[in-house]
Symmetry: C2
Subunit: 305 residues, 2 copies
Amino acid sequence: MAVLVVGSIALDTLTTPSGKAEETLGGSATYFALGARIFDAVRVVGVVGPDFPVTEKRFLEEKGIDLAGLTTGQGPTFRWEGVYGPDLGDARTIRTELGVFAGFSPRLPDSFRSTPCVFLANIDPELQLEVLEQVVEPRWVAVDTMNLWIDRRREKVLEVLGRVDIVFVNASEARQLSGEDNLFKAGSFIRSHGPRFVVIKRGASGVMVLGGPQPFLLPAVPLEEVVDPTGAGDSFAAGMLGYLSSTGRPLDFEMVKKGLACGSVTASFAVSGFGVSMLRDLTSESVESRMRFYLSTNQLGAERA
Amino acid sequence: MAVLVVGSIALDTLTTPSGKAEETLGGSATYFALGARIFDAVRVVGVVGPDFPVTEKRFLEEKGIDLAGLTTGQGPTFRWEGVYGPDLGDARTIRTELGVFAGFSPRLPDSFRSTPCVFLANIDPELQLEVLEQVVEPRWVAVDTMNLWIDRRREKVLEVLGRVDIVFVNASEARQLSGEDNLFKAGSFIRSHGPRFVVIKRGASGVMVLGGPQPFLLPAVPLEEVVDPTGAGDSFAAGMLGYLSSTGRPLDFEMVKKGLACGSVTASFAVSGFGVSMLRDLTSESVESRMRFYLSTNQLGAERA
């Protein structure tokens, strides 16, 4: 199968307690594509400016990522600058320059319209709805959202929820959207608006999914050092959805549970380096090896490889 | 086998967002004994005043808890009053009246001195060392500590660590003791002082243990409502150590991992009611049933009962 992602492609300037990276490859669609390609074919819809480095575009293509949906607009590539504090919690945004992303209106090439699996990364819910108008009978659709859209476009966010199968939120977004402090209640509220599965990301505390006969939770991969949390959510979605797409089967809870593990492992690579650096040369052998380690850290009876 | 606990027996006044309980049975040894009795025989060393309700003493005995080490001192029973905020995080202490606990010097009855498994609940590390002088070749010793003693008696806390097999800390205590922000590094620091296994409790984010070939982590039991977090740590230790004691075997990592699950389940009962209310009539059938549910919420391939 194949998975389609619609999201941002950016040049990020990142400062964390361990250092700084300037104008480095970033954006939700980029993190997603570089993570999901380990599991299945990936198709990208997005926009860059003429200033986007040709070497980076070539690099993505060489990794087998289908960029037929990547257009080059009039203006600079989307740029974001963020600074993380010592706890590596939410970044403080220093600068957002939308550039060509300000006028982004996603257009799917004909060859992309029947992609069976679709991920709507964190973009304006209006644009997410535009994508849903263009896809033809997808097997499933997953969506990411963020506090900005919950604040400004709550009704549109809820409309999107009514049309997707899987939603990703972090704990604070789940609470913000539902008004419930307890995450299980918050997740139930979100599910009541349509999506079959709600994935709640809790950072270093791991992840949970609601939508089966009981909640399912996994701790994060134990890491002695987190270098840069940028892209953790998108690389989590990448591993999970790449795996789900690769099965070629309709969604079921057992698959989703295993997908949670694939997402945790993929995110653990992303946060171990600056920007996308650890995803650039990631191989399925590395992912499999870390998966064996990971399961030995949270599954009773699992042996370390 | 049997497990010995040395700790406080108290009358607690608790206020949480869901209500208030006055002069209710509490104390670390009480929570521990009521949780661990589900798994194995429990022996208590502690002190109360003549004002301690006879009905509560009789209740503990009827539950099969051996109170041969419970003395009645001159003065009031230890009383503690705490208030929890809406997030049910650390309680704010309103009042601590040590009473007979101020002069507590643990004396083990001869019949208790060869108890194979020993839990030193959260008391002054000087007293913990006094207990270690009285036990005869225990199979293992576990210890709980708290920020108060890490602040005031750091050297004594480290001395205790050098003489025990398992230590329980919460995340903030692990960071305070080690000066390391990363919990895996904090745990390694603590292990370097002696204990074979370090259990780090993270509240609603679950628990981890260091001391095997890799870390092992479990999420908390999913609960739609936490009524009162008092005693969560002691009831966690109760489930884990009660199980380890019941095996009759020397410690190994596989047992410790399963012990983590037993601790999580026992703690989940404790926090579901005010004070010890949910532990009073707890049965092994309830624990086994919740264990099957719990494993289905975090073990891939586990089926719900």
